[in-house]
Every structure is written in structure tokens, then in C-alpha cells.
């Protein structure tokens, strides 16, 4: 545990330094791709908790991302920005620190908002199995989007403009690392085992004394919380939110990440998130070459080929540490 906190601190310091170096190292386009990679990692790894580890098929991840994004954007816009304007913005370290602290608070509140929705949706619907849960969560995602579309104070269909662009390389990867580490801790804990056993066989899990609905709801809430954080980071990076960013297509992107990486594999979700973010962009030059947009023909074809040749996903049920044994932490006695 101590060692992990230390690792986390070291990574955070590296990320903090990277925050000054990385954007200067590349052009804004590449930097944007890098940022999307980070957000998609959070999205994929968080969905993996419910779809991969617990085996509950949720198709409403974009909905939770939207809740998190809009809640934190609204808090920043209506509460934190007026609050900050009371103080002189002199760009000193203190005021920057203050601004970042408020940003994190706003992100966490966004995450909590999403988690609350996760709880409300999960409680009645996690009694359902398989495709039924899929339909409920899909419906929920769309309901959220339509509600936002009709809320004028957060922009409605025009979109929410003027969100402060407080998000940066550091925060996005800081939360990505946090989500990944929490996922790994979860997988190794007795909670994680309970979730895995629910995925393997619900009746058997129930018969050995696991309160399965309670655990499903817990996993759902945690997953929604992280999705909300991803939404908040996204909102504060672009500075603009539009309901059409959170259609079910976005949910499917998250599912593609989980399935492509291998259901339940955290390493798989990370790798798949990077691949699915970079691949469509890497195929862009093709468009110049052929003068037609073949991108969205090639990209799905690549995914199809991959799923046909490796139906269990890139990593299957394994983690990077299973493939490369030297990465494995020694089991504490």
C-alpha cells in the first residue's frame, strides 16, 4: 500500500513536469490526440469495472459522462468563476493553486453527480440480466441527453459555452493513473473477487454468500463516478459542451474499448483506448491520398479483422503482468 502511494506520487511529479514539457514538444493537433487518449483511458477503464469485471452489460456510459461533464461545468461556470473573479487574478502561484483546487472540487462534484445517477439507475435495473440491463442503460443515456437538450441554463441544444479551460495534461493523466490504480487495487481485493465471481456465475456467487445486487450497484456507482470525472475533464479542456457529444455512439466507443482490450483486462482497456483514439487519426492521411474518406471503412474493417482473429480481445482475460512476469508485484504474505 505504502509503495503504491509512493509510485503514485512519483508518477504525479513526473506528470506535473510533463505538463510544462509535453505541450511544447508537439503541435497542438498531436497534443489534442494525446489528451483524448487520456480521457478515453478513463472512459474505457471505468466502463471495464462494470462491463468487464462485473460482467454487467451497460450501454449508457456516455450518459454518466454527460452528467459529470455538465454538473462540473455548471458548477465551474455559475459558482467558481464568479468566486474567482472576486479575487484579483494576478497569476501568482497562490492564485493558480486556488484555481486548480477549485477545479478538482468541481470535477469531484461532477463525479459524485454521475455516481448519484449511477445509484438511481443501478438500484432498480441491476436486478435485470444481460440484454435487459443493456436496454435500460441505453434508454437512460438517451434520456439524459434529451433532458440536457431542454435545459436552457446549460445551453440546451446550442451547447454550453464559456466553460473555463482549466483542464490540462497533468490533470487528465493524473486522473487516468488514479482510475487505473484504483481498478487494479479493486481487482486484487475481496470486493474485486466478489465482482469477478458475479461475472462468472451469479447463482454460484449468491450461493456462497455474496450479496450480488449490492455489489453490482457498488461497481456501477464507482464506474459512473469515474465516467463523470472523464466528462468533467473533457468539458474543461474543450471549454464547450454539446449534448450531441454524448449520444449512444459515445457509449459504444467505450464498449469497443472494453471489448477490444479484452473483457475484464485493465491493461487491455488502456491499450485499446489508445488504439481506438489514434487509429482514426492515423488513417487521416489516407483521405488525402485517395481523395475519398475511406477512413471509416478501413477503421471498422480493422476492428472486424481483429475481433475475428482474436475474439477474446487483445489481452483476453490477462493483464500486462501476466504476459511480462517481471512486472508482477510480489504477493504480500
Amino acid at each position: 500500500m505504502k509503495k503504491q502511494i509512493l509510485t503514485f506520487l512519483i508518477i504525479s511529479i513526473l506528470l506535473f513536469l510533463g505538463n510544462f514539457i509535453v505541450p511544447a514538444m508537439m503541435n497542438p493537433y498531436l497534443f489534442m490526440i494525446l489528451i483524448y487518449c487520456g480521457i478515453n483511458i478513463i472512459m474505457g477503464v471505468s466502463l471495464n469495472i462494470i462491463n468487464g469485471i462485473t460482467g454487467q452489460f451497460s450501454i449508457g456510459h456516455a450518459g454518466f459522462m454527460a452528467v459529470g461533464g455538465y454538473v462540473s461545468a455548471a458548477i465551474s461556470f455559475y459558482v467558481l468563476m464568479p468566486l474567482l473573479s472576486l479575487f484579483p487574478s494576478d497569476n501568482t502561484i497562490l492564485s493558480l493553486f486556488f484555481q486548480n483546487a477549485l477545479f478538482v472540487a468541481s470535477l469531484l462534484l461532477g463525479g459524485l453527480g454521475a455516481a448519484l445517477f449511477g445509484y438511481l439507475v443501478g438500484l432498480p435495473s441491476l436486478h435485470l440480466r444481460g440484454d435487459y440491463l443493456g436496454i435500460v442503460t441505453l434508454g437512460f443515456g438517451e434520456i439524459i441527453r434529451v433532458i440536457i437538450l431542454n435545459l436552457d441554463f446549460i445551453g440546451g441544444a446550442r451547447g454550453f459555452t464559456g466553460i473555463p479551460a482549466w483542464s490540462n495534461f497533468f490533470w487528465i493523466y493524473f486522473f487516468a493513473v488514479a482510475v487505473v490504480m484504483v481498478s487494479f487495487r479493486l481487482l486484487g481485493s475481496s470486493h474485486g473477487r466478489a465482482l469477478l465471481s458475479i461475472r462468472e456465475d451469479e447463482i454460484a456467487a449468491e450461493s456462497i454468500g455474496i450479496p450480488i445486487t449490492r455489489y453490482k450497484v457498488k461497481a456501477f456507482v464507482l464506474s459512473s463516478f469515474f465516467a463523470g470525472i472523464a466528462g468533467g475533464l473533457f468539458a474543461h479542456f474543450i471549454g464547450y459542451l454539446n449534448p450531441s457529444s454524448f449520444t449512444f455512439i459515445k457509449s459504444f466507443e467505450a464498449i469497443i474499448i472494453v471489448v477490444l482490450g479484452g473483457m475484464g483486462s485493465i491493461s487491455g482497456a488502456i491499450v485499446a483506448a489508445v488504439i481506438t483514439t489514434i487509429l482514426p487519426e492515423a488513417l487521416r492521411p489516407l483521405q488525402e491520398f485517395t481523395r475519398t474518406d475511406f477512413r471509416m471503412v478501413i477503421y471498422p474493417l480493422l476492428l472486424l479483422t481483429l475481433m475475428l482473429t482474436r475474439p477474446q480481445g487483445l489481452f483476453g482475460n490477462k493483464e500486462l503482468s501476466d504476459v511480462l512476469p517481471f512486472l508482477k508485484r510480489k504477493k504480500s504474505p
Binding site: 473477487r193 456462497i208 450479496p211
Partner: protein
């Protein structure tokens, strides 16, 4: 009926929708016994077990365990009270290792040392599981999986072990072995309620037996007596 029975079902009725799977079932299991529930497909044997373990709720009637009413309680509460079920069709966690499966069985317990001891004990009962401890449970043979299911249920240290068709789909030689172990487990102090289609084997190791037919108990008595009962012989023993 015995007043201090470990488990007592009192006029239980269970329905799936409009169809009654159990009609007014009463039975009792005393401490230290092996009680078997035999009957054909669809007679309601598994339904009875599922009702006891809390996976199903009875429409009418009560389930008493150690004198307390446990009907309608959640499965995890019932496991904590000391009833553990080895579900039908070997509900194992296929992608987890044999050892992890066993540890999951001890889920509701906290004391690591005694869990370790019980694991050794289970390995002593089924040495093959020790050889397979690191192997994914889904790759075990049918017999090994059944042993694992029973072992996993034992890891909860139950007072009462519910076994649902442990002989299902197994070779006769393996069945013999499993039934021998069931007897051993019983002799070490665990009360067992055994549901079986293999009436012959079940009646040979049980103390008491109930015969279920389309949701009703049609016969009950000492296992030895039922073995010699002409109706039972004709219907279930193929003689």
C-alpha cells in the same frame, strides 16, 4: 415432527408465476444426518434446495433453521447462518483458479488462518484439487469440478450442506468416489441434505429419505426402508 430439528420446512409452497413447483412440502433434517430428496426431473428437488438457501421465496409456509425462521431472508444472510449450497450443474467460477474458487467459498469468513486450515483440509479430502490449485477451474474435468463445488461449499464451514445432484453427468467410478466423500464429510459432523436422481446411491448413504413427485412428498421414511419399498424399487431403482 421432531421439535429440535436442525432444518425444518413447514408446509412450503413455491410457485414460478402461476405454476406451483412445490405444494405444501414439510420435511425435517436432524443434526448429523444425511437426508436425501429423490425424485424424477421436475419433481421440485432443486426448487426445494433453492428455497432453503434463499434463492427463491416461498409463497406459503416457513423454513426454520436452528429453530429460527429464515424464510424470505437473503441468500448471503442464510450462508452466514451456516447453510451452504453446492449448486446444480457445478456452478464454478470458470476463469478463476481452483484455489481462488475455494477462497471465494470462504467469502463470508474473515479469519485467514482457519481459512488456510480448511483449505488444507479440503485438499486432504480431494488431493487432486491440490494438484490443480493453480489451474483455471474451467479446465478441470467434470468430476474435478464437482469436487470443487462441494469443497467450495465446505469452505463456508456450514452446519448444513446442501448438495444439488452431485452425480450429474459423471462416470460411475467418480460417482462412487464422490459419495464416499459425502459420507466422510457427514461423519466429520456436517449435516447434509442431498438431492439426487441417482436414487440407488443416495439411499445407500442416507439415513432418511423423502420422495418427491410433481411438487409433493409422496413417500418418506428411513432410507433403508425405502430401498426395500416395492414402489420405490419399481419407479426409481429400476428393479
Amino acid at each position: 415432527m421432531n421439535g429440535d430439528a436442525l432444518l425444518k420446512l413447514d408446509h412450503i409452497t413455491v410457485a414460478y408465476g402461476a405454476i406451483k413447483a412445490l405444494k405444501d412440502i414439510s420435511l425435517s433434517v436432524n443434526e448429523g444426518e444425511i437426508v436425501t430428496l429423490i425424485g424424477a426431473n421436475g419433481a421440485g428437488k432443486s426448487t426445494t434446495l433453492r428455497t432453503i438457501s434463499g434463492l427463491l421465496k416461498p409463497q406459503e409456509g416457513k423454513v426454520y433453521f436452528k429453530g429460527h425462521d429464515i424464510s424470505g431472508k437473503k441468500p448471503h444472510v442464510i450462508v452466514q447462518q451456516g447453510i451452504s449450497q453446492a449448486p446444480e450443474g457445478r456452478g464454478i467460477f470458470a476463469n478463476l483458479s481452483t484455489e481462488d474458487n475455494l477462497e471465494m467459498g470462504a467469502y463470508s469468513r474473515k479469519d485467514k488462518e482457519s481459512i488456510q486450515r480448511d483449505k488444507e483440509h479440503v485438499f486432504h479430502i480431494f488431493p487432486i484439487l491440490q494438484e490443480r490449485r493453480k489451474q483455471e477451474a474451467g479446465t478441470l474435468s467434470g468430476g474435478e469440478q464437482q469436487m470443487l463445488t462441494i469443497s467450495r461449499a465446505l469452505m463456508a464451514r456450514p452446519k448444513l450442506l446442501l448438495l444439488d445432484e452431485p452425480s450429474l453427468g459423471l462416470a460411475p467410478q467418480i460417482i462412487k468416489q464422490i459419495f464416499k466423500v459425502i459420507q466422510e464429510i457427514n461423519q466429520q459432523g456436517t449435516t447434509i441434505l442431498l438431492v439426487e436422481q441417482n436414487a440407488n446411491m443416495a439411499l445407500h448413504i442416507a439415513h432418511k429419505a423423502y420422495v418427491l413427485e410433481t411438487g409433493k412428498i409422496v413417500l418418506q421414511g428411513k432410507a433403508q426402508d425405502l430401498l426395500n419399498n416395492p414402489d420405490v424399487k419399481k419407479a426409481y431403482l429400476g428393479e
